[in-house]
Symmetry: none
Subunit: 428 residues, 2 copies
Amino acid sequence: MRIETICTGDELLTGLTSDTNSRFFQEALLDRTGLTVRRGVVVGDDRADIIEALQQAVSRADVVLVSGGLGPTSDDLTAECAAAAAGVPLVQSDTALRHIEERFKARGIVLSENNRRQAQVPQGAEVVLNQEGSAPMFIQRFPAGALSTPLGMNGGCLVFFVPGVPREYRHLVGLHVVPRIAALKGSPEVRKLALLKTTGLPESHLDERVAPLAVKYPKVLFGFRTHPPENHLKLLATGATEAETSALLEQVVNEARAVLGPTCFGRDAETLPGVVLARLEARKEFLALAESCTGGMIAEQLTASPGASKSFYGGAATYLDEAKTQWLGVPEGLIAQFGAVSSECAEAMAKNVREHTGVQWSLSTTGWAGPSGGDAENPVGTVYIGIAGPDGVKVVKHRFHGDRERVRSFASTTALDLLRKRLEGESS
Amino acid sequence: MRIETICTGDELLTGLTSDTNSRFFQEALLDRTGLTVRRGVVVGDDRADIIEALQQAVSRADVVLVSGGLGPTSDDLTAECAAAAAGVPLVQSDTALRHIEERFKARGIVLSENNRRQAQVPQGAEVVLNQEGSAPMFIQRFPAGALSTPLGMNGGCLVFFVPGVPREYRHLVGLHVVPRIAALKGSPEVRKLALLKTTGLPESHLDERVAPLAVKYPKVLFGFRTHPPENHLKLLATGATEAETSALLEQVVNEARAVLGPTCFGRDAETLPGVVLARLEARKEFLALAESCTGGMIAEQLTASPGASKSFYGGAATYLDEAKTQWLGVPEGLIAQFGAVSSECAEAMAKNVREHTGVQWSLSTTGWAGPSGGDAENPVGTVYIGIAGPDGVKVVKHRFHGDRERVRSFASTTALDLLRKRLEGESS
């Protein structure tokens, strides 16, 4: 089955934004069906370009995924180009219009004429409602034309049109597009995927550690995905039956976890903040934070998990030195003597926030996130991470590389991982 | 001048890696020449696909930038495909071979037969040495063929072939490709881009508000881009000279800002947190936060800006009710009577954090981010946002839609925007 993608949008061709959607589709497609995309095309908001790209794609491919250009504005041209490429008129979808009307009504927003345009689809297209936005998804079958050389699939090409807004794209592609392609493929082979998530281990080391397992299990595909500060090991098992595939996958997961040791913090949908919260909840313990250079990032990551209130007390983003003194009781003299970016300050922050709140655990961060600041002893990228618990306070000094965002993100993950290892009884 | 790009590499189609090179080229091209790419194609390491993509691109475009597939391994097919597409043989470039030999000698590495392959280029191609790697860049002119309809440029298409390794790509594209395109262009037409950023205005309303301007200024391209919770208006002006284009763009920017009013918070690289911090800094005032449902997100967004310490005091992510009481002095009785998700609680949080820290401004958030929680009066998505300043405290109740992340993100942006409008003297 030959699959192609077309992304539309001037902003994808002028350096304003990158196409992150296609990677989501590629991964989901590979995981679910073992298929890969053969060609990806990006075109601007230009009628002739969109129509030409569409006609060429349907002449080559069995399935095409088109994204973007379904919004309410005048530069959203995809539906009319789809109709033009197929030689059919645009017609109003009553279901889509009703969906849009209800959506706007629920939000108390007045429906504009432009929003009604979003209910126009090419004649003959199947409409799939979009629970995450107003633009509907639609599916259109292009027959094998005079110029076309499709590889099969009833002699035509199936084209999925989805909005380009990432949240809507992911929702519709995950829920409708990939499952339909999987059904079209119709292979009896069962595939199962596991994702093992690590942090603190470079991708090349991860690869080396599991290399012997990849040789031992040829029916499992080993892949690596880097999502700094995390590296993920992707295991895709293939088998004849559900039971056989599950058994094979679990065996490899167990052996991989054994060689990865404590660097592996979770599996599949587990997140590092989620794992930390679950460990705390199981112990009926609470965490408080005192963040300086991470400025609320650790708190934000923890509270992204529903139910964080079962083990997260709260956090102080004490950005100014005055805040460290006033909220956390870090002595002015300590900051004057050692500086705010120091082991002493990180220790006082962690110790004091734990004592003031009466919780079992606390984490603190203080460092130079850059681009300015730092000195010879503590250059930009230096972060002191403090952890306080029932058995005392400890501070670890790190040096992270990269820009401000990267330093803050690595510091947040490293702090959470420090607590995770402590809770799991590992010495870090 | 019509410009297209082709990126080759299986890894770009299987979710393993994203194409970040194209964005670099697009930005450099726009900045330097005002030109934009018309189409971007990604193909795998497959001879037929590469040749077809190349032939189609040279039949449409004046300039094509091809990247990837110039390495030493067997799946590096670009040079042979270029030769096949042009109908010429591959020949050895002595300059390229000498460069490779010297490079390996300097590093004390033995030259393999595969590395010698990297000196093979299509006959007639111009070789440009690559100071960042062993694969040379080459430039090949494709004549206007029977099927081609090029727009000009001496009736043919100029194709640049560069390695896909980001460091090498950026070096060669910045040093050779973009300057050559700028020289080719030699046209007096200048393009300039402005981005106006809004929040609190649906995309369709944004479009309607500026529609009369788009009619009035046909030499300015109006585009829209949604980055929830923000919507951006993109203005691309075209003119004969630098001065004329700048004047036109500034005129349209001013008129657009006038019709957008206070919903427009910034321009180009400005961010909402950055604008808030700048407004505070100009007034020599400070902000403190008391976040519940946003759990540190506002603090995180503010501290993502370097120099946040000039106007951000710090924030308390008071997630538990105990934290609200203990850190912010919100009376237990108030929470018992009205609940933590209430106007009263938001007011007390904002008022108290301002008083305790002694700063001029404070923001508070408390609400149900979901998926669980809420009641008939305050369903999931309800967020109370408090703002306290020299002229008192005010609380606004909002109802946001979507998942937990979306509610938190909209609440954070709405809170920051409330302060921005207050600082800019607007009543919200």
